[in-house]
């Protein structure tokens, strides 16, 4: 059976479980809290094991199995774990994460790493072969580790899978009898196939019943085996369902592939824009528009995920790498709660991982070097996410050794990317961009550190393909700061529509500080630049028509100034000729070949099919 269509789902689910598992493993706590954490951790790893096995990822499943066994041992014995146990567990989770990455890319399994880890796990298991103790009740081995959750004397919830004897007639009736007998042993929480299906007479002999038993496991097993209509059965302890009443309605959460959601969202957007063009009045069309709008809002909301989803992975990656390199590095994340488009997050996660690895590997120095430079022994990597107007800014900043433009130039010359003459002409800030040239990072470095062949060149092209920009700042000896500035993709944005030289533009409200009308008395000219004096403040002003080199005739009464912040941090004013009004638009990134054009965050299609460019005031090319 070809399982490829399920790979995406597997990857998404496995990552969810791993994310939760890693978080739990990071802080196990003590006493009862620790027991609870271990139980949860166990369930996540158990799920991964099962999913991996059903996908045919034997190595992944085997590693999960051993990790699971170790957790079970910890939980069962409540013994003080051997030193290093939790680390081995965390390493195993990290390894599983990499295996999922590889599975996603359909790469071969890297078995050396797993084998070493698994040896470590088994050593901690005290030489007990991991698969040795499968319960007699569980021929498939799937319940082996869970056995301890419901020790021989405890009662609880069990899933009993039954094969009804087939040498009798009316198997469906037999099934109903089995169900009746089992119902005497506890409360039946779930029956599969349901009774309604059994009544139709179709029954293939397999029955699964989840039961909240009155009896301890051993006694229950004995009673079940005494039911004569049952040929064989397996019994697995399961978590009691949250809802005590099996018939109570449950709000199910459904997993949807993000590309399907994207496609649906596109359809709704198209629906909205074609509704806008229907030339009809009346209540029906208004209702239809409102419904389309509601569907849109709901879909957009569904696609948003908090940055936290990614930041855990980034932190763990940094921790694992700094440990491997014997460096001290602390990761701080700011803006975990910022929500962003899931499809965007999926595309930038690899570039972000690379940036974080770079910061730890190339940025942070050894403790001795740091001490000599009078820096704290532990280096700091700061990841910051912020939503600015219709853009999203993600920065990865370290307080390490920084980039040395001279050395970068030297490397570029050695790799044949730059001639010595070009190197001389290249200004220092521009030299920082050399790290984004394909081939600047050597193959040796990419395999050892980043491991997946994502170099800074790929970071740059990915970000640019998304209509964003990569900014690099660095101070030798002080650290490096990489910023991804990305459009927040599909989203309705509140804008002001302004006009200059006969053209309309939309300006996101959030990108503006304020707006004011300006008259000639309040401006002064100095060195060919106009300044607007507001109180004690003096704000340089650019006319939008000059900035965009527009030649149409002036219109409106003029003199309206939009005040915002330029990329440099300075306050600037942009003069427009008219402010038409407010409008909510769907900002689309500019398509190629204009995708990288500075000064715009995108374009929007209006209800009448007309187009309006959306300005990004912070990045307008002011001289």
């Amino acid at each position: 059976m070809d399982l490829t269509p399920y790979l995406d789902l597997f990857v998404a689910e496995a990552r969810d479980h791993l994310g939760a598992a890693c978080e739990l493993a990071g802080s196990l706590g003590e006493g009862e809290a620790r027991d609870a954490a271990l139980a949860q951790l166990f369930r996540h790893v158990h799920s991964i094991k099962g999913m991996a096995a059903s996908m045919g990822f034997a190595a992944m499943s085997a590693l999960a199995h051993d990790a699971e066994s170790l957790m079970d041992r910890l939980r069962q014995t409540r013994a003080v774990p051997e030193p290093g146990t939790e680390r081995v567990l965390r390493d195993a989770l990290a390894c599983l994460e990499r295996m999922v990455d590889r599975a996603e890319r359909k790469d071969a399994v890297d078995d050396a790493e797993r084998a070493a880890l698994q040896d470590g796990l088994r050593r901690l298991l005290g030489g007990h072969p991991a698969r040795a103790g499968a319960a007699p009740l569980d021929p498939g081995g799937s319940a082996g580790p869970a056995r301890a959750a419901a020790g021989p004397e405890s009662s609880g919830c069990f899933k009993i899978a039954v094969i009804v004897r087939r040498d009798r007639s009316f198997p469906a009736v037999r099934a109903a009898i089995v169900i009746g007998k089992l119902a005497r042993l506890g409360k039946l929480v779930r029956i599969d196939p349901p009774m309604a299906a059994l009544r139709t007479g179709r029954f293939d002999g397999r029955l699964a019943v989840t039961i909240a038993a009155h009896l301890p496991a051993r006694a229950l097993a004995a009673r079940v085996s005494a039911v004569e209509e049952i040929e064989t059965f397996t019994m697995v302890p399961v978590e009691a369902p949250r809802s005590r009443d099996a018939s109570a309605p449950v709000t199910a959460s459904l997993r949807v592939r993000s590309d399907r959601l994207d496609a649906l969202l596109e359809d709704v957007l198209e629906l909205m824009s074609s509704l806008g063009r229907i030339d009809a009045a009346g209540r029906e069309i208004e209702t239809t528009r409102r419904l389309a709008r509601r569907a849109y809002d709901a879909l957009v909301e569904m696609r948003l995920v908090p940055f936290e989803v990614a930041s855990q992975r980034l932190s763990r990656e940094a921790d694992a790498l700094s440990r491997r390199l014997g460096k001290g590095a602390a990761v701080e994340v700011e803006g975990q709660e910022v929500k962003l488009d899931r499809s965007l997050l999926e595309r930038i996660i690899d570039p972000l991982l690379h940036m974080v690895r770079n910061a730890v590997d190339h940025g942070i120095e050894s403790a001795e070097t740091r001490k000599a430079a009078r820096k704290p022994a532990v280096g700091r990597v700061r990841i910051r996410v912020a939503r600015l107007a219709s853009r999203l800014s993600i920065t990865v900043e370290d307080d390490g050794r920084g980039l040395d433009p001279r050395r970068l130039k030297q490397t570029a010359i050695e790799r044949g990317l730059l001639t010595p003459a070009e190197a001389v002409r290249l200004a220092d800030p521009a030299a920082l961009s050399l790290i984004t040239l394909p081939g600047f990072t050597t193959a040796e470095e990419t395999t050892e550190v980043s491991g997946r062949g994502v170099g800074m060149d790929v970071v740059k092209t990915t970000v640019e393909a998304l209509g964003g920009r990569l900014r690099i700042e660095s101070r030798p000896g002080r650290g490096t700061r990489l910023e991804l500035s990305l459009p927040a993709t599909v989203a309705l944005v509140q804008t002001y529509v302004v006009r200059a030289a006969g053209m309309s533009f939309a300006v996101p409200l959030a990108s503006l500080g304020r707006m004011a009308s300006m008259d000639d008395h309040s401006t002064t000219w100095r060195d060919g630049r106009r300044y607007w004096n507001v109180g004690a403040e003096e704000i340089p002003v650019w006319a939008l028509r000059d900035v965009l080199r527009l030649h149409g005739p002036a219109e409106g009464r003029g003199g309206m100034v939009l005040i915002g912040e330029a990329a440099s941090g300075a306050t600037v004013g942009i003069e427009v000729e008219e402010i038409v009004g407010r409008r909510e638009v769907v900002v689309r990134p500019l398509p190629p070949p204009v995708s990288g054009l500075a000064g715009y965050s995108g374009a929007a299609v209006l209800d009448d099919g007309g187009i309006v460019l959306v300005l990004d005031p912070a990045n307008l090319p002011l001289d």
Partner: protein, 125 residues
């Protein structure tokens, strides 16, 4: 191979059909200030903006004086990019000839590399 083919001035050109998402009559084009000269501007297609590239200008060809103009929207990965072709467009089967040419009904056509065109159109000059 399946091709779209057309003339710019006297010169015959072809585009592999697999590179094309759609051919539509050219509609209004909204200029984009500061864009490279080979970009005519943005047009609306199915509720989204597409960037229209001035193909005659990019190929250094005189635009034909005719009244027919088409917009050839390119397929993934060049989603959103489109070529402005001011002439009739036909489709047909061609046989590959030497050096990026294809022969359609015995006539030689230069087969355009859409990716290279879009890259060239992004250049400021």
């Amino acid at each position: 191979m399946d091709l779209l083919y057309f003339r710019l001035g006297a010169a015959p050109y072809a585009i592999p059909l697999e590179r094309v998402a759609e051919v539509a009559p050219a509609g209004p084009i909204h200029p984009v200030p500061l864009s490279p000269p080979a970009v005519l501007g943005l047009a609306e297609r199915r509720g989204r903006p597409i960037a229209v590239i001035d193909l005659p200008r990019l190929l250094d060809r005189e635009p034909a004086g005719g009244t027919v103009a088409h917009v050839v929207r390119l397929a993934s990965p060049l989603d959103g990019a489109a070529l402005w072709v001011p002439s009739e467009i036909s489709s047909g089967t061609g046989t590959p000839a030497e050096a990026g040419h294809a022969s359609i009904d015995g006539r030689d056509h230069l087969v355009l590399d859409t990716e290279a065109l879009v890259k060239r159109a992004a250049a400021p000059l």
